[in-house]
Symmetry: C2
Subunit: 226 residues, 2 copies
């Protein structure tokens, strides 16, 4: 027994899921030792209990699905470890940060990197990925990739509110990262682990923020993609 | 003595400032009885102590400027009244909601309603307003107004993350509004008090949210613009 996180992986074992990254940082934030088990899309059903997405947390035999639900579960079951939300208001606002990240940054970036993801996953999973994701983005993966130059500035612009926030404080969580920081960090690890799209430039305050977050969770981040 | 809020007003006494709206909802949230004093742009200097923007809160002779600073001040000085942030995490995240609202919704809407503001303020303040705001938006007020149809959908799209959040919870603050809710409410009152731009449609979940917020602070909202 122990704590295990089912973690989406490419064919060469890059861990790309933004949602799994959130969960790994949340576990590290709670000072929980854990192992990860790499899975491809087609391995998820075998986790059992009707799982269809990752992350899935196996906490000594108890399975919890969905990254936000995992954060809530950790907050409830590990109340003495550092808080992921620092209060009821922080927990509620983390949901907005999550929906913001999903519907702005991730929505803007996904069409531009979907072909990179396709090329990185196991060959047997590619037909499923292509079919489901082309339906989602409304174009071929190749057409999305071709928009990289045209849409790069718009993708970068989705981070404008973060850049303004960073004039006031070092993290979404104030002077230390909270789950809201894990959410954006996960989205950036997703992009950087799979694609050379130059979303963050070296002079972007969000790049500095990402390095600060990585320093706090250095044991669990993938240093190749910082 | 007592509690007084200097509140930006048009020539016909519509209170338009999004920042003043935030402060009024925060005062109501803290169950503080207050009066407002309508001011035009050119009256702000006369408030004293080098004030250049509103809102300015006069709390029994102590002046506090800036809506976020006013919220922090109220939280600190009225700890026994309902919290505006519900904890340290909520306070930190409120800053993100503020920078998000400023750099997305307000930035998208302002060029489209700047001419409406110009026409509503006192004639003697119009040259200052036109000069400073045309510099800000990079075009004439009339050119901004002409973009209303073209840019309406983009302005509506800035609220996408809020619509997603409202699938999970009734307010930014969870099951009750907090200062983060006051921030967006203020931006919508600003738009609706001054312009007939159809930003919110009746079937928009954000419209329902706005009505819920208004119900909580009914004594201080302007019912004409709900």
């Amino acid at each position: 027994m122990g704590v295990l996180l089912y973690d989406l992986a490419t064919a060469d074992d890059r861990r790309l899921s933004p949602y799994c990254w959130r969960a790994k940082l949340a576990l590290a934030h709670k000072h929980i030792a854990f192992d990860t088990k790499p899975v491809g899309f087609s391995d998820i059903a075998a986790i059992g209990e009707g799982q269809t997405t990752v992350p899935v947390l196996d906490d000594n035999g108890h399975l919890v699905r969905d990254s936000f639900a995992i954060a809530l579960y950790l907050e409830e079951t590990r109340p003495d470890a550092p808080s992921l939300f620092k209060g009821e208001g922080g927990q509620a606002a983390a949901r907005f940060v999550e929906t913001w990240c999903l519907t702005t940054l991730q929505a803007a970036v996904f069409p531009l990197i979907a072909l990179d993801i396709y090329n990185a996953i196991r060959p047997d999973e590619r037909p499923y990925f292509r079919e489901s994701r082309e339906r989602r983005i409304g174009m071929s993966l190749e057409a999305g990739y071709a928009l990289r130059d045209e849409r790069l500035e718009a993708a970068r612009a989705t981070l404008t509110p973060v850049r303004h926030m960073l004039r006031y404080q070092a993290f979404f969580g104030g002077d230390a990262p909270l789950f809201a920081d894990h959410v954006l960090f996960g989205a950036l690890m997703w992009q950087r682990s799979i694609s050379d799209l130059p979303l963050l430039t070296a002079d972007d305050p969000v790049y500095d923020w990402m390095q600060r977050v990585a320093t706090r969770y250095y044991a669990v981040v993938d240093k190749r993609f910082l």
